[in-house]
């Protein structure tokens, strides 16, 4: 079963604004029955001010499609059309306290329905430029079509390049076989052969020999603090933080806080911190999460 947030469940079990709005003057139909998601959004717009007086949805789809539709109608009521158009699919997902990566397309459908309904109200024709393929990278919700298009547009040749351009494959790396298959196929279109580069069989823990003189205990801890301080702004940008809990020989215990708690990327974050510390200290150290949940996510 999906790990839906309380908010998603609330909007699915008790959807708001279900059904068509009476006297609607803007209608947006998007989605595809073949994909199992389709949404009709009806708007009642005050012509003078372009304020959305009422919004209603009819959705054929899964739990998160219905929840996204319900959330969208709640979010746009009372806004002007221009204000409403500023809502991104991420805003819809955030309103619902997040969606599983496989379900992000439900929020995309919501945003598209809004664009279509506004275009319909204004007498314009809305064209969908969004094509969706099978999900390849589950860590960052990147689909096949997106990867193929990016490979073609940027003349990419390696998995690493695909990761740099799309983020696909940058997390758990389980989808690298799938990305290699896509590369093989897309490169074959222009008569090229995919050559797997020198694959990362195992990353050497220490890139360079420890030339740095061995630090005393206090100096070492200060150095660790300095490194953590330099990483902190990046974590804070994502509403997270890190604090040093203890240092025991090669084991450095840290505590990830804020948005980092329970984040599926926590293990990667810790790996990154460890790599930086190894480089800065010039010795092999192990960064260990001090809280139990973080420990599980790192080992899992």
């Amino acid at each position: 079963m999906w790990d839906y947030s309380e908010k998603v469940q609330e909007h699915f079990y008790n959807p708001k604004n279900a059904g068509a709005v009476e006297g609607a003057n803007g209608v947006g139909d998007v989605g595809s029955i073949s994909c199992g998601d389709a949404l009709r959004l009806t708007l009642k717009v005050e012509p003078e001010t372009e304020v959305i007086l009422d919004a209603g949805f009819q959705t054929f789809g899964c739990g998160s499609a219905i929840a996204s539709s319900s959330a969208l109608t709640e979010m746009i009521k009372g806004l002007t059309l221009d204000e409403a158009l500023k809502i991104s699919n991420q805003d819809i997902a955030d309103y619902l306290d997040g969606l599983p990566p496989e379900k992000m397309h439900c929020s995309v459908m919501g945003r598209e329905a809004l664009q279509a309904a506004v275009a319909n109200y204004r007498g314009e024709v809305w064209e969908d430029d969004h094509e969706e393929g099978a999900l390849v990278c589950k860590c960052f919700a990147v689909d096949q079509v997106m990867i193929e298009d990016t490979i073609r547009a940027n003349n990419l040749h390696t998995v690493e390049e695909v990761t740099n351009y799309t983020k696909a494959g940058g997390g758990c790396s389980s989808c690298h076989e799938g990305i290699e298959n896509i590369l093989t196929r897309v490169l074959a279109e222009k008569g090229e052969t995919f050559v797997a580069g020198v694959a990362a069989v195992a990353k050497p823990a220490t890139a360079k020999a420890p030339e740095v003189p061995k630090l005393g205990t206090l100096a070492r801890i200060r150095k660790i603090e300095t490194v953590l301080d330099s990483i902190r702004p990046a974590l804070q940008a994502d509403n997270g933080d890190v604090e040093l809990v203890d240092v025991d020989g090669k084991n450095i215990y840290v505590h990830l806080t804020g948005a980092c708690t329970g984040c599926q990327m926590a293990a990667m974050t810790l790996g990154g911190i460890q790599q930086r510390l190894i480089e800065e200290l010039g010795e092999f150290v192990k960064v260990i999460p001090a809280s139990k949940e973080a420990l599980v996510s790192m080992e899992g």
């Binding site: 079963m1 139909d29 595809s32 959705t59 054929f60 999900l135």
Partner: protein, 407 residues
């Protein structure tokens, strides 16, 4: 999402089953007391060795196999499937074709798709609207280029049973190996391998009240074979790796129990399934049973509810304590609905709304009546939200009345 309460109704037995308490009892001594390695000479190992021998016999009896040495223990149904197909290819390198069906379990289909990239030709037999195969088409594909035919005995989604004995006979007449993925059939319908022409058969313990992590590959004596795992003498060198003794003992007991309950499965369990279908079809408009009603597993009901989506149905069922499964795209994270429903030509408006209810001998008629009561309001609630549904039925020409931009 954990809304489990005491009266929860489990109707997802094709996904997995409860370990029978009698099976669990049988397994218990093999963790802390009888923990020896069955290969060891001393008494610790010896006793376990005898227990495995007894389990092998219990499984042999359920399958109607001629010899107990035809039973090879594996870790799961998927391993048995991979072992069988890859063995057939390795043993007959000159044969480069495989015959299978469009509706196989991914354990077979995904492997076959991978083998296509390795240069093998895979023929996937189509099915009709009731999920039945065209045997004339099958006959026309049999040739000395075919290394193996791999066809499931019963379909996990629709419950449709294929004429496996007949198909195996046709293959044998042409000297072609025949493998069947029988994980859904074993324990639910009678099987008698010694009177068949089946070369290999896969079964999975957790589908018949044994634990997860144990499977069997039946390998007919004399069929050419190449192991997937080498590295030990276990299973007569055909599947290396220390035996999962507690699970094997449990599977043996589960097979004995399955044989005892075979009649119950085909009368009482079938009656519950039939009552559920009849009750739901009578109460809910625009829904239908998928698969072949005349030739189905006794425990499986697959019902397609038009104009609504399966995951939404499952979530609402779960909320009232009913566990089922769906072939909808969303439950799997893919965009396409079930390949089985598509192969049967079920329209998208219905394929996304298929719900599978699969029974076991632990269900009761009282549970069935509760499900029949709970389903109609759930379907009505979701249809009220659906753009394809009007006041009292589907909108006229649903495809035209609601034709979204990117369809």
């Amino acid at each position: 999402m954990n809304t489990t309460h005491l009266e929860d109704i489990y109707l997802d037995n094709n996904a997995t089953t409860m370990v029978d308490p009698a099976v669990f009892e049988e397994m218990k001594p093999y963790f802390c007391e009888q923990f020896g390695n069955p290969s060891s000479l001393h008494s610790f190992g010896n006793k376990v060795g005898f227990a495995l021998k007894r389990a092998r016999k219990q499984i042999q009896d359920l399958l109607g196999a001629e010899h107990d040495s035809e039973i090879i223990f594996t870790s799961c149904g998927t391993e048995s499937d991979s072992t069988a197909i890859l063995s057939a290819l390795k043993a007959q390198p000159e044969r480069k074709e495989i015959i299978t069906t469009l509706v196989e379990h991914p354990a077979v289909l995904t492997l076959c798709e991978y083998l296509e990239t390795e240069g093998y030709t895979v023929h996937k037999l189509e099915v009709d609207s009731k999920g039945r195969l065209d045997l004339d088409k099958y006959r026309s594909l049999l040739s000395d280029k075919v290394a193996v035919v791999s066809v499931m005995w019963a379909n996990n989604e629709s419950g449709t049973i294929f004429p496996i004995e007949e198909m195996a006979q046709l293959a044998a007449e042409q000297g072609i190996m025949f493998h069947t993925d029988a994980v859904q059939a074993v324990g639910k319908i009678p099987i008698n391998l010694k009177d068949s022409a089946i070369s290999m058969l896969s079964l999975s313990g957790h589908k018949l009240h044994a634990p997860k992590g144990i499977g069997v590959l039946y390998l007919r004596r004399g069929v050419r074979y190449r192991p997937l795992l080498r590295g030990g003498h276990q299973e007569r060198g055909r599947r290396a790796g220390t035996e999962n003794a507690p699970a094997i003992v449990g599977l043996g007991k589960a097979c004995e129990l399955a044989a005892e309950h075979m009649a119950f499965e085909n009368t009482q369990v079938k009656a519950m399934r039939d009552r559920l279908e009849q009750g739901i079809l009578a109460a809910v408009p625009n829904c239908f049973v998928t698969g072949d009603p005349d030739n189905r597993l006794p425990n499986t009901a697959s019902i397609a509810f038009e104009y609504i989506e399966g995951e939404a149905i499952l979530l609402l069922l779960n909320k009232v304590g009913i566990a089922a499964s769906s072939g909808s795209a969303c439950t799997s994270g893919s965009l396409e609905p079930s390949h089985v429903m598509r192969a049967m030509g079920i329209p998208y408006t219905a394929a996304h709304g298929t719900v599978r209810f699969s029974f076991s001998r632990y269900n009761t008629m009282a549970e069935v009546e509760r499900v029949i009561k709970e389903v109609p309001p759930i379907v009505a609630k979701l249809r009220k939200l659906s753009p394809y549904w009007g006041e009292n039925g589907p909108v006229e020409n649903p495809g035209e009345a609601f034709a979204p931009v990117y369809a």
